[in-house]
């Protein structure tokens, strides 16, 4: 068994490398992904090893990146597009929503677009505007796209490979505040890796279910540890896939705990939390002891860096919501 400790950046880099080794038609394309290796170094060294025909430094235009990826995919390639930051995806939004998401559907299943769109997302990095946003709900609201997000290096390593081999387009959100945090990655565990579209229990518990994804999973695991000190047992579910949304472990958990807190950085209204709350209410109405609580960013534009920690959910806000579920 080959287990390596690596950062999340390195895990995606290694996963991409393995995907490129496995299939000559896998391309990496985006702004600064070649020589520089990406502004976060996620694609570091790939152009050196796979050449500039497969690792393409594109002109600086997101619609162009996605639109040309559509053409490449129609020609039989598997492009992995990097959007440099969350807030810069919107010039490419039309191509993603109107073209990428619909091609398989509108062609009656004849045409597939196996495109991966990687987007570093989320805040708490002290950045200027447009560099800390969480736009996942826009994409999860779009039929035809798969939307996934990893929370740790092991998932990052496997999920990026699964995304590349998927025949549907996948929007792959990467929690940039966790980019340089390390974790163990079992490089030989291919056979035991869960499906891309599956949620998993990140920490078992008995009193309250906490559902989170991406950067907030670690926050919730820390909240679970803190709650344990106070004698409360939180079960943390890492949703991993936001579309399709796999709520099987959440529903199973809530039937035991009767309480659910959903946590995400993105603004609250019509966010993933709203969908989770609605569906859990449909599925677990008679098990719920309290209304589903949401711990999220507020319904404001992403604020200035000096106030972002008050905007973002943290351990204390999660625990505060846990307390609220016991107030009914």
């Amino acid at each position: 068994m080959s287990v390596e400790s690596m950062t999340l950046v390195k895990a995606i880099n290694s996963g991409l490398r393995r995907a490129m080794e496995g299939d000559d038609h896998v391309l990496v394309m985006g702004e600064d992904v070649g020589k520089l290796g990406g502004v976060f170094r996620v694609t570091d060294g790939l152009q050196k090893d796979f050449g500039d025909a497969r690792v393409i430094d594109t002109p600086l235009a997101e619609s162009g990146i996605i639109g040309t990826a559509v053409g490449l995919a129609l020609r039989g390639y598997r492009p992995v597009c990097e959007i440099q930051f969350d807030g810069f995806v919107f010039p490419g939004y039309d191509q993603i929503v109107s073209q990428v998401a619909k091609m398989h559907f509108r062609s009656g299943g004849r045409l597939r677009l196996p495109i991966v769109i990687r987007i570093p997302y989320g805040g708490s990095i002290g950045a200027v505007e447009h560099h800390s946003e969480s736009p996942e709900a826009y994409f999860a609201h779009t039929p035809g796209l798969k939307v996934v997000t990893c929370s740790n290096p092991a998932d990052a390593y496997w999920m990026i490979q699964q995304a590349v081999t998927a025949d549907d387009p996948v929007v792959f959100f990467e929690p940039k505040r966790r980019y340089y945090e390390k974790g163990d990655v079992d490089l030989d565990s291919a056979d035991s890796v869960p499906p891309l579209e599956s949620a998993r229990v990140a920490a078992p518990g008995t009193d309250v279910t906490v559902a989170a994804y991406g950067p907030m999973v670690k926050t919730c695991l820390e909240a679970a540890a803190a709650a344990a000190d106070e004698g409360r047992s939180l079960e943390v579910v890492d949703l991993r896939s936001l579309s399709p949304l796999d709520l099987t472990p959440v529903v199973e958990s809530v039937r035991r705990t009767g309480r659910l807190v959903v946590v995400h950085e993105a603004q609250r209204t019509l966010g993933i939390g709203a969908e989770v709350a609605a569906r859990v209410t449909e599925e677990c109405f008679y098990s719920l002891e309290a209304p589903v609580q949401r711990v999220t960013g507020y319904d404001t534009p992403y604020p200035s860096a000096r106030v972002e920690e008050e905007y973002l959910p943290d351990l204390d806000r999660v625990l505060d919501a846990v307390d609220r579920t016991f107030a009914f």
Partner: protein
């Protein structure tokens, strides 16, 4: 005060640039130093075949307009007046070249062997484009203006990576054509496609049918320079061709396509033409343009000039024209009949191809829809 919005004070507009023309509106073949050689092989048979395409394209179009008026189609974007631009460019294609159309390229579709019934099906609302894009190399219609120019460019980048340009092997070297209109040149996607194609030297031909109108907006709302001149700023050649001259469109397209196949990069072709009909069957052009303009362009009809040329040069006899009329009638009749017979899709089929593998969620929604629809079955029997 008034705001000066035209290219300059009244009367100072520069003269219209020359356009490549090989066949005058009167059907006179005029020599051209550069382009004669490109159609030297075009003989009487080829002229007759192109004429056939022009006539059939127009007939498909008029039939579709009629079907829309009869309530059989939801909408139809007419190609009336643009037949030569489409047939000329499409006849310049080789079998393995690829086409990325807008939603008005019915003449190109015809030349690529796509059954016009498939186009009618789309506008009837039966499907969203189910012709064989792989076999015909005619990709799906794109309705979002200009989006397909990026798809074409990306496809051409794939052709490059496959080593399918510049080999000198006519059965291997491949060009890609993006069709779009004058309105589309204002879109970011089109400008991004120009940039991508330029810096990657992609084997793509940008074929712009400048039909003078983007719904109600005239060309001067989109540009202050002749469109073909835009290419210069992006670093590749641009050429303006008489879009109502099928021979000139054939010649100019052949040259541009061969440049692409030879690995010499993109070309912008501006086919200067005119949208004789409405933007679509939902449009009313009398609200924004003058009859006089239409009358002016009627004199430049793309089909009449070929007929005049054929008659003058004994390229076709009356029997040919009679046969063609019969063939067009037959096609129209088939389309009329088959269009009306196109079955509506099963409601639950909407769930079939959202993803390659259906998700649990969609399977549940499909069952929900089926149950709901089934719940009416008893009532219908009772009634």
């Amino acid at each position: 005060m008034t705001v000066e919005t035209a290219a300059g004070p009244a009367g100072s507009a520069p003269p219209e640039p020359e356009l490549v023309q090989l066949l005058t509106p009167e059907g006179q073949r005029v020599p051209h130093d550069r382009y004669d050689a490109l159609i030297a092989d075009v003989g009487p048979h080829d002229i007759r075949e192109m004429y056939r395409d022009l006539v059939l394209a127009r007939r498909i179009d008029s039939e579709a307009v009629a079907l829309q008026r009869q309530g059989e189609l939801g909408l139809w974007p007419s190609l009336l007046g643009q037949e030569a631009a489409q047939v000329g460019s499409a006849r310049a294609l080789r079998a393995h070249d690829h086409v990325f159309p807008t939603y008005r390229e019915h003449g190109v579709a015809l030349c690529r062997g796509v059954d016009p019934l498939r186009l009618l099906a789309l506008f009837r609302g039966v499907d969203q484009g189910t012709w064989d894009t792989v076999g015909s190399r005619f990709h799906l219609y794109t309705i979002v203006i200009g989006a397909q120019t990026l798809h074409a460019t990306g496809y051409a980048m794939g052709v490059q990576r496959d080593g399918a340009i510049g080999t000198g092997d006519p059965d291997r070297d491949t060009a890609v054509v993006a069709y779009f209109g004058d309105g589309a040149t204002s879109q970011g996607d089109v400008n991004e496609a120009f940039i991508w194609a330029s810096v990657t030297n992609a084997p793509v031909v940008f074929f712009c049918q400048n039909n003078q109108w983007a719904i109600s907006e005239p060309l001067e709302r989109q540009t202050r320079v002749p469109l073909y001149k835009r290419a210069g700023g992006f670093g590749f050649p641009g050429v303006r061709v008489d879009g109502n001259d099928v021979l000139a469109c054939l010649a100019v397209s052949r040259e541009a396509l061969q440049r692409a196949r030879d690995g010499e990069g993109p070309t912008l072709v501006e086919a200067f033409t005119y949208r004789m009909g409405a933007h679509t069957t939902s449009d009313d052009p009398t609200r924004y343009r003058l009859d006089a303009e239409l009358e002016h362009w009627k004199l430049k009809d793309p089909i009449e000039r070929v007929k005049a040329y054929m008659v003058r040069n004994d390229i076709a006899d009356q029997a040919f024209f009679d046969d063609l009329t019969a063939q067009a009638d037959e096609l129209a009749e088939r389309l009329r009949t088959q269009c009306r017979e196109l079955p509506d899709p099963e409601p639950t089929s909407i769930f079939d191809h959202v993803y390659v593998e259906p998700t649990t969620q969609l399977v549940a929604q499909r069952d929900e829809m089926a149950r709901y629809l089934d719940s009416f079955a008893d009532q219908e029997v009772a009634r």
